[in-house]
């Protein structure tokens, strides 16, 4: 659950969990967070919390509400934001995702209107059979450990290993092609986009795709297939190497790695 750390002059006064849908801040005693100081308005600001997201809104206070030094009217709070009210500081802490880095976290779940009113972190969902009760299992994202999904009460499965990071060399490389013959001979084209098409539409077209592993050429349309280093390709994507010579619709070009 997200929380606020109240401090003044660098001295931590209190830790305040954001357990309610609306948390009011102000000088008057009926506020959820009462700060008895004349610089604070009676009803100064409110924090609306919806599941994992919290929104701060200034309630037309006399002295204003500041987040990270900027005056705000409405603000979508991010982890480590510092809210300033007069001499008081409220640090917003919401490190839910870093504590539960699980693929299940992102699983699509149904949100029902009655869920909105429940605080996100009370007792864990029981392995209920009834449909409505099982729906409660969807609180997985907030504070229930990974693996809890709409099935409810299922044993968590170990998260599969993340996809291997692509080799940094290939990903940061920029390739280019230089035309070797015809009217445009000598012209160079940098391949910075994820895909670049070459050739003449209706006659013969090939595409060069830029991927984490490097560059690939694939036939798109036309009766004849592209030729790379004298060999004709088939329908499959073909990896391109530095100084490969490509021939499409009678135009020869050289592929090379710029850096």
């Amino acid at each position: 659950m997200a929380k606020l750390i109240l401090s003044m002059d660098g001295l931590v006064l209190k830790e305040l969990p954001l357990s309610k849908e609306r948390t009011t801040i102000g000088r008057k005693p009926h506020n959820d967070i009462q700060i008895d100081n004349l610089a604070i308005s009676g009803e100064h600001a409110v924090i609306v919390t919806i599941l994992n997201d919290s929104f701060l809104e200034d309630l037309n206070s006399t002295n204003g509400t500041y987040v990270n030094g900027q005056p705000i009217k409405k603000h979508f709070l991010q982890n480590n934001d510092v809210v300033e009210l007069g001499k008081y500081r409220l640090k917003y802490i919401n490190d839910t995702p870093s504590q539960a880095p699980s693929p299940d976290f992102e699983k699509t779940m149904v949100l029902r209107p009655d869920m909105m009113r429940k605080p996100p972190a009370d007792a864990p969902a029981a392995p209920a059979r009834g449909l409505t009760e099982t729906q409660a299992g969807f609180r997985a994202g907030a504070s229930v450990p990974a693996g809890t999904s709409m099935g409810g009460g299922l044993p968590p499965s170990p998260p599969p290993p993340p996809a291997p990071a692509p080799a940094p060399t290939a990903a940061s490389q920029i390739g280019a092609i230089q035309i070797l013959n015809g009217a445009n001979a000598g012209r160079e084209l940098e391949l910075t986009k994820t895909l670049t098409t070459l050739g003449k539409p209706g006659l013969q077209v090939a595409v060069i795709t830029r991927r984490p592993q490097g560059y690939f050429i694939t036939h798109v349309e036309g009766a004849s297939f592209p030729v790379v280093n004298g060999a004709q390709l088939d329908a499959q994507a073909h990896p391109l190497n530095d100084h490969d010579v490509i021939e499409i619709a009678g135009v020869k070009m050289e592929f090379f790695i710029k850096r």
Partner: protein
């Protein structure tokens, strides 16, 4: 009412588990002859998500084919009926079998007929239309995030950083009754329609989707492969499914009797 659309429409579909998930809970179904495309993204424990999305495509696919043959109902009414029927089937299965309890699925589906497309959706699976060089998202997600954007609570920029990305506000099979959103649009020859699960639009920027459809619309199979590959190259954190439909030529229904001609004239 039946029309053979296989000359007018080209449809391809792909579905992939992605790079992280072990199960593929998405399901797709296309039938170019009757002009139907269906995509569902299931949710629920163990394999319940697959069951829900598989039931959705099977029930809707079968019943819509039958309904089109009979031709008794108007298209939007027929779509509503088959969705209600799929909803009931999933809801009943979930209610009667503990291992399926709580399962559900998103849905995006379309029926092409008489130079028009009727599209229905529930949840956060989407349909985009590429017309000329313009890619447009036609459906509006039924999700918490979209509601927050609509109410002005957060901007689209902030939405990208939100932690509530995965919450849908409507789904098929979780309640006894579901309300699909159904709209009908005119179709033009050359249009390319993209149906996708959130595994695509969460992983691939709209700009790259647009670029792919523009560059590769001559080779629909390659375009579909490229979309899935880009989602996986960017991490592939979710199942990813796409259906591409290219409109090759117009497909008007020839008015048959005096009455239908009169009705066509009155429209």
């Amino acid at each position: 009412m039946t029309q053979d659309l296989s000359q007018a429409l080209r449809m391809v579909s792909r579905t992939d588990a992605g790079m992280v998930r072990t199960h593929n809970e998405d399901a797709v179904m296309t039938d170019a002859t009757i002009g139907v495309a269906i995509l569902a993204d299931g949710m629920g424990g163990y394999n319940a998500g697959e069951v829900a999305s598989g039931m959705a495509t099977a029930v809707i696919g079968t019943e819509i084919a039958q309904g089109l043959r009979e031709g008794r109902k108007s298209l939007p009414a027929l779509i509503e009926t088959v969705i209600a029927s799929a909803n009931e089937a999933i809801y009943r299965a979930a209610d009667s079998q503990p291992q399926y309890s709580g399962m559900g699925t998103t849905l995006v589906m379309a029926v092409f007929h008489d130079n028009r497309i009727s599209v229905a959706h529930i949840g956060d699976s989407r349909m985009y239309r590429m017309r000329g060089e313009q890619l447009e998202c036609i459906t509006r997600d039924h999700s918490l995030l979209q509601e927050q954007i609509d109410s002005g609570m957060i901007t689209e920029e902030e939405a990208r950083r939100s932690q509530n990305k995965n919450l849908v506000t409507r789904a098929l099979g979780v309640d006894p009754i579901v309300e699909p959103e159904i709209h009908t649009y005119d179709v033009e020859a050359g249009d390319v329609y993209l149906f996708c699960s959130d595994g695509l639009n969460d992983m691939v920027e709209g700009e790259d989707i647009s670029l792919t459809l523009q560059a590769l619309s001559a080779n629909l199979d390659l375009a579909a492969d490229q979309l899935v590959q880009m989602a996986n190259d960017n991490g592939g954190r979710d199942n990813v499914s796409v259906i591409l439909v290219k409109v090759l030529q117009p497909f008007p229904v020839a008015p048959r009797g005096v009455l239908s001609r009169l009705l066509a004239w009155l429209k």
